[in-house]
Structures are given as C-alpha cells and as structure tokens.
Symmetry: C2
Subunit: 305 residues, 2 copies
C-alpha cells in the first residue's frame, strides 16, 4: 500500500452477539455489508470497540476468517492482533497474512493493570510481528496503560518496515500527532485519529490523514476528513461541529455499545446484546442515543429497513 492509501475513514466494526451470547455470524456479515455501503475506506476488526476483551482466541480466529473472507477485497481490512505474548501476536498476524488481510493493528504488550511492555520490549514485539510482512498500525490507546513516547514511535516507523500507521487516541492526542508528524516526516505514512472521532477536527489540524471512528456514522465523518484534506477546512469544521453532539453522546455516554444500538434500530443486526460483565446500555441512554441519531439519519439507521 502506498502512502496515499492511508486516508479517509476506516471505522471499527462492532461484533454482534445473539441474545444468548453467541457470535452472530450472519449479523457480522451484515455489519460489513453496511460498512461497505457507508463507503468506508477500510474496516478494522477485533478492536476494543469490537469488544476484543470479551472474545476467546477461537472466536477471534473465526471472526478474522469470516470478516476477511466476507469483505473479499472490497475494502482493506485491519485486523487487531494485540497480545502480551509476542509469539501469540505473531501467530495471529500470520493468519491474517495467509487470509490476505491488508493490515494489522496492535497495542504495545500489556496485561492487566501492571504488566506493561517497556519501550525496548514494545519495539521488539512490533519488529517480530513486522517480520510477517503485513502493514502495521500502532494503536496508542489508554487501555494498554502504556505511554508510547514520540521518539519510540518514530524509531519504530524508521526501523520497522511494516510499521507505517499510528492511531493516536491518548489524552491530548492532537499535540502528540503534531509532534509525531513534524518530527517523523515521511516515515509517518498514516497518522490517524481514533476514539470515535471525539478529537477529529483537532487531529486533522495536527496532521491526521485518516480517522478510525466507530461504524455508527462514518458516512457523516468521511466527508469531514476528505474536505479537510482537500483544503476546504471551513466546510470540514462546520460539518464536524454539526455532528459533534452525536459523537460526544456516543463517546461519553455509550462507548462501544452505541453502534450496535443504532444498527439494531436500523435493522442491520437483530440484537445489541452485551456479554457479561458489560451491562446493556441503560434504557434512557439508549433512547437518548436513538433520538439524537435520528436527527442525522445516517446509513446505519436506514440500511436494514
């Protein structure tokens, strides 16, 4: 993939479950088809918004196969392969390679509140997984509990051929992205915004070329990115301010449960079931989300009707 490819809107696919807790495979395919119709530039699977922390290894493998096969090259697929063990992350990456997946996403090695890869261990893990030969997006997310200093990210970009993209979703993401892009130059081929797009406009101003939001409203987010990259920053900002109340509600009141609520409302999937210990989204919050999203009428709200 060339530099020019890492642009636009590459949302995370949620993982639908049946009301009995099983993975809803048909629902998963419909989520993907809906996302293709949203004209996304890529689809990320098994991310935190996909509830990867509630899946077994076997379910991850099933979903990796199902999603890459069902997307069938219509858009690039980014598969999350994070694990504390480098060997396990490596094996997950090898499966993606075998299946023809286009990209990997990885957090640094972490487990629980205390096991945190050092800069050296993090570099080594990415270098090892890089040997598989699939483009890697580094995910700089608070869930890992690991601070990734910009000099480490630049070293990874320069010295590990496959490390090309960086999704920055730590606190004060824009400031970090700006330094990363300024100091990393051409080695930072894909600087990405994340976290539902709650910092999208500041991240675009800081140099982000891509966005990884949820799949709730990528049809509304993508023009913001493309207009900004096309030099029309005022139009971009106006659209961003227009959808910000919805993104804010998603990010602060719902988290990863929002997209499935909207996709269920829009007939994309049959259930917005949450696996324990995650409770269902509280009824009033759910209603608030649906009422708010109706003002915007995104594709996910109409797709299955």
């Amino acid at each position: 993939m060339a530099n020019d490819d890492f642009k636009g809107c590459w949302p995370v696919a949620p993982t639908p479950f049946k009301p009995n807790g099983e993975i809803d495979k048909e629902g998963m395919k419909r989520v993907i088809d809906c996302m293709v119709d949203q004209q996304v530039d890529g689809i990320c699977i098994l991310a935190n918004y996909s509830e990867q922390f509630l899946l077994s290894d076997e379910e991850r493998e099933i979903l990796t196969r199902l999603c890459i096969e069902h997307v069938d090259g219509r858009v690039p697929v980014i598969t999350t392969v994070s694990h504390f063990s480098t060997d396990i992350a490596f094996l997950r990456a090898k499966l993606v390679k075998e299946l023809g997946g286009e990209m990997l996403m990885m957090m640094p090695p972490y487990h629980g509140a205390l096991m945190k890869g050092s800069p050296q261990q993090t570099f080594e893990q990415f270098a090892k997984v890089g040997e598989v030969g699939v483009t890697i997006m580094v995910q700089d997310a608070p869930l890992s509990g690991i601070d990734l200093p910009v000099p480490l990210l630049i070293k990874m970009a320069k010295e590990i051929e496959m490390v090309k993209c960086f999704k920055i979703e730590c606190a004060q993401a824009a400031a970090k992205l700006r330094v990363l892009v300024n100091e990393g130059g051409d080695f930072i081929e894909g600087p990405f915004d994340g976290e539902e797009g709650i910092t999208l406009f500041a991240d675009l101003e800081a140099g982000a070329t891509g966005n990884m939001s949820s799949a709730m409203i990528p049809d509304l987010i993508r023009p913001i990115v493309l207009d900004y990259l096309g030099g029309n920053s005022q139009k971009s900002e106006n659209q961003y301010n227009h959808i910000l109340p919805l993104i804010n509600y998603e990010n602060r009141q719902c988290g990863f449960r929002a997209t499935k609520v909207v996709m269920k409302e829009g007939g994309v999937i049959n259930s917005d079931f949450c696996r324990h210990p995650i409770p269902d989204l509280e009824e009033n919050t759910k209603k608030g989300l649906i009422n708010l999203v109706k003002n915007y009428n995104p594709i996910a709200l109409q797709w299955g009707k």
Copy 2:
C-alpha cells in the same frame, strides 16, 4: 472439602517452556512430581506466577488437562480460570469440573489498565462461575487493578456457596486479612497468604490458615504455617526469619522467573526460557539467586540430581 482442608502450603506450579518457546509437557509433569515430593497440600496452576498472561486459550486447556490428569488426585489442584468475559471463565470452570479438578482460582473481571469489573459485576461473575459447583478461591491481586472491599468479599462468601477461600495479596495484606477473618467468621473458610510468602508471618498473625507461595521452597514454608497453626508461633517466626532473605530476593529481584531458575539448577526441568516480552533473568541476578538458595538446599535444588 471441609473447612479443615484449607490449611498449609498450596504453591503455584510454574509453566516450563522449551528453549524454542513451546510448552514443555514432560517438564510440566516433572514440576508436578517435584511438588508432590515437596509434600505440598495442593497445587495451583495457570496463576500469574505460571505466566498465564503469556498463554493462549488452547495452551491453557492443554495444561489444565495435563496437570489435573497427571496429579491424579495425589493432592488437590487449584486451576486459575480468570477472564474478563464471564462466559469464558464459566467455560474454563466447566472443564475443570469435568476433569475432576478440586478448586478454581479467579481474579475479578479485568482487562488492561482500564476495564475493571464493578463490585456488582464482580459478584455476578463469581456467582455465575459458582454455578459450576467447584470451590472457588478469590484472588485479591494488584494485577487486576481492582480494589475488592472487605464487605464485598464477605457478601460473596455468604451468598455464593462455592466461594470459600480468599488469597489476599494486595498492599497491607495482613490488615485486610484480619478484618476479613474477624468480620466474615466461619464464612471465610480458607484465608490465604500469597505473593511468594513475602508477607507470610504477618498474614499468619492476621488469621491466614494457608499459604500460596511459589514452588521454589514450599518444603521450607509449609512447616512455618503448620507450626503457627499448631500453636508454636515462636518456632514458626524463627523459621520465617531464617528464609526471609531468600523469599525477599525472589519477590523483589526475580518474580515469577525464580522457581524455574532453581528447578533448572536442580534438574527438575531443562530450561528456564522466558517468552517474549519477558526477558531472561539477568545473569548476575540468576547467580545471586542460586548462591542464596544453596544455603537452604531445598528439594527443588536436589530433586533431579
């Protein structure tokens, strides 16, 4: 199991790897046989000291089967089944039940630095896993990042039949154990000390009846517990003070790598290989550990010679 059973020394078995990173199944059996010869009162598998965070789901299942089958009832086996997903912890517990395993150990639901089960979610997860019908030891360890208040632990002990044992290895463990035992009374059937025994004597004074150390020197730790429980606290304290330099070195300089270094030196296993990103124990630290442990000549240092 009756109340009287939750006494003595129930160490964690380390998970041996071959130099190529694979699980050393024959080595695992030898670890278990060595531990039986150490006259342990029980064996805990897949704990943090067993490097559970570096194992795949499939490897966990292989080790669960292998260990329970190889122990073959010689001592009770405690199998760790922690997972953020309640369904996955439940399925792991069901496997233990099918195999005839005697006990389960679980941390509260956690993932990474930020996903932390609330008291309600934690209670519900233990209640669900309790339905399997195997005795549960609650592991109160800093790795989860979750504070477990004493009233929650007592509620779990009173309302979830299978929750009987509590391994307290948070900061100031003894103070917590004392309140737990005093306020929980007979519902706290097995109050346990943990973390390599670094707080063992204070924990015994606080009411611990059992200890879950590593498998490095349980032959030296068990008499400390039994003497204390038998009313001979001075003898217990003298022995504790005698081995404390070694426990301190293990706990603060080596962590979960110590037992495999000693067991390799003692011919129990062939390799003390660490899976990436965990580095090998630094050579001088390794030598320091071996020199120190030679002063005590525990079974693990002689077993395979």
